[in-house]
Structure formats: structure tokens, C-alpha cells
Symmetry: C2
Subunit: 349 residues, 2 copies
DNA sequence: AGGGCGTGCGTTACCGCTAACATCACTGGT
DNA sequence: ACCAGTGATGTTAGCGGTAACGCACGCCCT
């Protein structure tokens, strides 16, 4: 190669550089690089060679502006440290990888103000679609989403009024179902342990469904315990100890997530407590971690990957086909997995 | 408000719409929206009102193209499911939140090909800087990074030749140090359990440092066990059982990450094995989860958040000040935390 | 020979915004 | 009264691509 690659170039490479290097017009280079339109095999390879030699990387900013197309999908989630969301993300990526679309992630830390800001930032890049966790958004956020004129899929939760499409499970139903099973197994003195996050609407809805089912059986939650921050596993231990100290007669503990449930389980096993004979346990989420525990915690699957995949499919379809119907709604069924901490041998199932 | 908001607008909003709605030039609107240049308080509020009424969201694509400035920092990591990376990310966000910069995450799944593709995609958005995990990249990737003419910070690992700046710990040293301590505690028949990932260079380097220190003491790893996929906690159990079945006389197990270490720990505790009397254990990473275990697993902290913060600071500094020196190198010291599974009471410390 | 058509490439006019400079009305000093 | 200085706004010319159309040229058919 004629050493044309001046190491200390000041001006960044553009199509023009490639076009000059290969002796064709910018338009032709553009066509080659995008595999669009007819270009003869001869010019095609000539251009590709030049582009590679220069180390040219197309400028999507200019491309997007000119073509009015941006192959980005904004994905807005509350957190990355709760493993639920990375799992949803991988479901999304899995589907989008088959398309020209690309996910871009924004994290809100469960804060509506931050959600609004993140959303504004993302929309200012004019993505082709939005996937956003939850149905609860500030009014400006909802307005932005509506005004954006792009497909919006709200995920994780279906208990509420969607803006456009929605994919998720009913957390209310999940809580209800779990409570029903708990009652049926004969538990009567039930404690709840959860996170001190008024903005985790899904946890709240599970709790609401839970208490509703209890109420139907004439029961209510005997005591509650909340935490925030720190190692969930450790908090699960501590809260379990605390709640049982206050109410040693509790016969069931419902945890708002598997991590604290696992902490409670480990704690009780160490204490030599008979599970589920003396006390039953259940969590929520179906995290992979549970498989490695000494005892399988009862839980309900949140259908994370499925939700991600379905949401991405809706987005992909809507973008590929402008005429596709908006407002689709997909409800997954949260599967109960009773594990070893819920079913009492003598009970019917 | 005079109902000017036509719900079914086809053409998306632009500066021009705002400028017409507020009776000033586009330039003035632009100035207001960016808080730049002198604008009288009167026009400022007039413009802001119009923008809000219309629900205008600036188009960063056009803005970036015109100003030749993109306030994005590409962050390229192997995975989101290994909690290490979300923690690094939050360190990065923490720092970038104080600046106009914004992180954009790309995930490679430990695949060099995918890394190359992700990098190409990200660079085509012309980010202002790149933070990328690891020092091992394909030649084209390295070339792209060099040619991009932007600050690059390689993170997590410092054992190798950086492209530009680097922030991390020495995994080789971490492995070495752990082995040294193990030997000093009198363990002699040592097994290694890790992940079957030839492309996890950091795990490899820890292992190399580990065996090197053992060799210096005239020892070598007695047996090894590898896994891939699945629940790490469960795999830790299974591998521990398997390796001990083959070599019941092992007196120490070194796990390449805390998750499988925790699985092993739980397994051995269930078996009633005396830890660390009969057998010692150690992992790597200092994950928060460990705090909730019945026994504290010996581990070494990978300084995740610190690395994220330091990398972001370098990027921010380099972008703010063009003249800042490239090639900075920050080495954190991986702290050993012996927990309850390494130190034998009768040993010196 | 002329018309119709497909192929391969170039030209032109933007996309929506901003840098840089131009303009214009004041203000104040002398 | 004149000019420089300043503050508030407008004008022009791109940024680096792409859509849409234009235009040779060769080919086939009649």
C-alpha cells in the first residue's frame, strides 16, 4: 500500500476522503458502504479497499440527519443492579440483533425526575422506538412519549393505562396468586418483608394483590419489615430475624424479592428452623441464584427474557411496517414455582 | 393556552416551529435552549414558553453535526450479567453526571468479533471518548481506537500494553497475592475452579499469577474444574463436589469468582465440612452478596466503582482540556479480605 | 433506425442545527 | 455630535451524509 495514512491528520475522515481515494463520487461511496443501489463489482471493491485502507468509519450522525432514520431503540429501565433488568435487556438484544436496530439503555434509579431527564435526552437522539419499564410516568414524560410519534412499549407490568403497547405480567395477580396458595396451604400468620421504595410500583402492586387475597380469606398481614440499600441477602437475614423477634408466631414470610428471601432462608436454616413445617417462605422473581441454595425458595417467575423479546418484537414489527396496529398488549403468565418452602406435604395441591 | 397543538402533526417539530411560535429567529431559539450567548430575559421566557407549549425536544443529531460536538462516552464491557460491570458503570455515571457527558453502553459478550462490531457502531456516532474493558482487542479494534482521535481508557486490567490511558488492578498480582497467602497459611493441596472462558483474560491472568506464586513455593495446582453457563452458585456446588470426589485430599479451593465460591461454601457447610480447618476457600471480586452468606468467603476486591470513577474522570478531564496528557495509568490495589475461610487460627498473619 | 429500458454513476438539494460574522439600536464619554 | 463599545438579534454558510432525480451508455426488440 502506498503509505497514504498520515498519522497526524487533523480533519477527521469523511466520505469525500474515500471518494477521492477511490476516484468515484461520494454518492457512490455511500452506496457501496450501505449496500444500496446498483454499483458494479469493480467499483464496489475499489471503494471498499480505499475505505479500509483509510480506516474510514461512516458518520451516523450525518447519515441519520440526512436520511431521517435512526436505528436506535431507547430502552429505559430503573436499575442495572437488580438482575431482572439485565435479563430483560438480553431478551431485547437477542431480538434486535436480527434487525438493523440497536438498543440504547438509560437508567432512572427509580426516580421519576430522572426518568424524565433520561427520556428527554434519549428522545433528542430521535430513536425509532422506546421500550420503557413500568406504566407510571410523570405527565411530561407521557406527553413526550406521545408526541414523539414513535412506537412505545411499556414493559414489566400490565396493571394500568398504557400509552401505546404494553408487555408484562400482572404483578397484582402474581401477589394474589401467591397469597391464595399460601392460604390454601394452611398458613395463617403471615409477615411481609420488602423494600422501602414507594416508587417500585410493581412491588407495591404485588403487595396489593397479596393483601387482597388474604382479605378474601379473612386474613391480613401480621407484620411488615422494610429495608433500603445494602446487600439484599444480608438485609433478608436481618429483617427475618427482626420480624420474628417481634412476632415469633409467624408461620409464613412473603418477601418482595428472591434476594432477601434467600437471605431469610439461609438465616432460618442456620437456626435449624423447620421449613416449611414451622414456617413457610416465598419470594418473587425466579432468579437463577436460587438454584444454588440449599433449599429451593418458593417464587414466581417474572418472565423477564420473554418480556424483553416480545417488546423488541413489537418495536421491530412496528418500525418495519408503518401500518402495524399500535396499542398491542401482551400479558405473560407469571409461573408459580413452589420449591421446597411453601407446600406442606399434608396439603392438597 | 390557544390550542395550537395539532395532535396529528405529520412533520416533526423543529427549531423553526418554535421560532415561528415565539416570533424570533431560529438562532435565538437555539441560543435560549442551550443557555448560550446573550438573550434578553423577555425573549428567553417567551421562547421557553413556546417550546414547552409545543413540546419541542431539540434534535441532537442535527446539533451534533453542526457543532461537531457529541457529548457521548462509549462504554464497552463484556457483560451485564456479571455484577462487576454494572458496578463499574455506576461509578462511571456518578462522575459523568456532573458533566455534560453521557455514557452509552455496548456489550460484547466476551467476543472479540462482537467487540469489534460494537466498537465500530459506537465510533460511527463519533463519541467524545471511549472506556473499554480489558487490554486485549483485535488489531482492527485497536486501529479504530487509535484512529478515532479521542481519549480512550482501558479499564479493569493493567497487565498489558494500553492504547492510551488505563485504569485497573493487576489481576496477575491479585492471583499471586492470594496464592502467597494460601501457602503461608499452610495449605498445600490446592484445587482451582473457574470458568471455561478462554477469552476472560482477567481470570486467566489471575490464574497465571496464582500458579506462579505456587511454583515459587514448590507447589502446583493439584486439580482443576471448569464450567460454563448456568447458575454460577449451582455450578460452584457441583464443581466442588466433583473436584473433591476426584481428590478428597485437597485442602484448599481457589475459585475464579465469588459466585461459584459461594456455591462451594454452601455445599461444604451442608456437608458439615470444617472450614477452614479441613479445607480453605477463596474467591475473587468482593461481591456484595457474600455479606449475607453464613460464613464470609475469603476474596479480593476488584475496586469496581473506583475504576469506573477514575476512568470517567480521565475522560472528563481530557475532553474538557484538549491539552491534557494522554496515556495516564492508574493502578488500584486489590484489597484482600480474608473472611472466615482462609486464615487458620494458629498461623501468623 | 428508433424507441424503450435497465445499469451504473453523478448532481442537486436538502436534513435541523450551530459557528461565525453581520446588523442595529442604544449608551456614554468627550 | 461623533464614534466606540456593548447587548440583542438576525444572516449566511456549512456540518457529512442521503433521497431523488438526471443522464450517459449499451442492449434488445420491432
Amino acid at each position: 500500500m502506498a503509505g497514504k495514512t498520515a498519522k497526524l491528520r487533523k480533519r477527521p475522515l469523511t466520505l469525500r476522503d474515500v471518494s477521492e481515494a477511490s476516484g468515484v463520487s461520494e454518492m457512490t461511496v455511500s452506496r457501496v458502504l450501505r449496500n444500496r443501489g446498483d454499483v458494479s463489482e469493480a467499483t464496489r471493491s475499489k471503494v471498499l479497499k480505499a475505505a479500509k485502507a483509510l480506516g474510514y468509519v461512516p458518520n451516523k450522525i450525518a447519515g441519520a440527519l440526512a436520511s431521517q432514520r435512526v436505528n436506535l431503540v431507547a430502552v429505559i429501565i430503573p436499575s442495572l443492579s437488580n438482575m431482572v433488568f439485565p435479563e430483560v435487556l438480553s431478551g431485547i438484544s437477542e431480538v434486535l440483533d436480527e434487525t438493523p436496530l440497536q438498543p440504547v439503555v438509560g437508567v432512572t434509579n427509580y426516580s421519576p425526575e430522572r426518568e424524565e431527564k433520561v427520556l428527554y435526552e434519549m428522545l433528542s437522539w430521535r430513536p425509532s422506538g422506546v421500550i420503557i419499564a413500568g406504566l407510571e410516568h410523570s405527565d411530561p414524560s407521557r406527553a413526550m412519549l406521545r408526541a414523539a410519534g414513535i412506537p412505545v412499549v411499556e414493559i414489566m407490568d400490565v396493571d394500568g393505562e398504557p400509552i401505546d403497547a404494553v408487555v408484562g405480567i400482572s404483578h397484582r395477580a402474581a401477589g394474589y396468586e401467591m397469597a391464595t396458595e399460601i392460604v390454601q396451604q394452611g398458613y395463617r400468620r403471615i409477615g411481609f418483608l420488602g423494600t422501602k421504595m414507594p416508587l417500585d410500583h410493581r412491588a407495591r402492586k404485588r403487595f396489593e394483590g397479596f393483601t387482597e387475597a388474604l382479605a378474601k380469606a379473612g386474613l391480613e398481614v401480621v407484620d411488615q419489615e422494610f429495608y433500603s440499600g445494602g446487600s439484599a441477602l444480608l438485609k433478608g437475614r436481618e429483617m427475618t430475624e427482626a420480624i420474628l423477634k417481634r412476632h415469633p408466631d409467624l408461620d409464613f414470610l412473603y418477601y418482595s424479592n428472591d434476594m432477601i428471601g434467600a437471605g431469610g432462608l439461609l438465616f432460618l436454616l442456620e437456626q435449624g428452623v423447620d421449613i416449611p413445617g414451622r414456617i413457610g417462605l416465598a419470594g418473587f422473581n425466579g432468579v437463577e441464584l436460587l438454584e444454588g441454595l440449599p433449599r429451593q425458595l418458593a417464587t414466581m417467575d417474572a418472565c423477564r427474557a420473554e418480556i424483553g423479546r416480545a417488546a423488541a418484537e413489537i418495536i421491530a414489527r412496528r418500525i418495519a411496517d408503518e401500518t402495524a396496529e399500535p396499542g398491542e398488549k401482551i400479558v405473560f403468565k407469571s409461573r408459580m414455582s413452589p420449591g421446597d418452602t411453601l407446600l406442606r406435604s399434608d396439603s392438597s395441591s
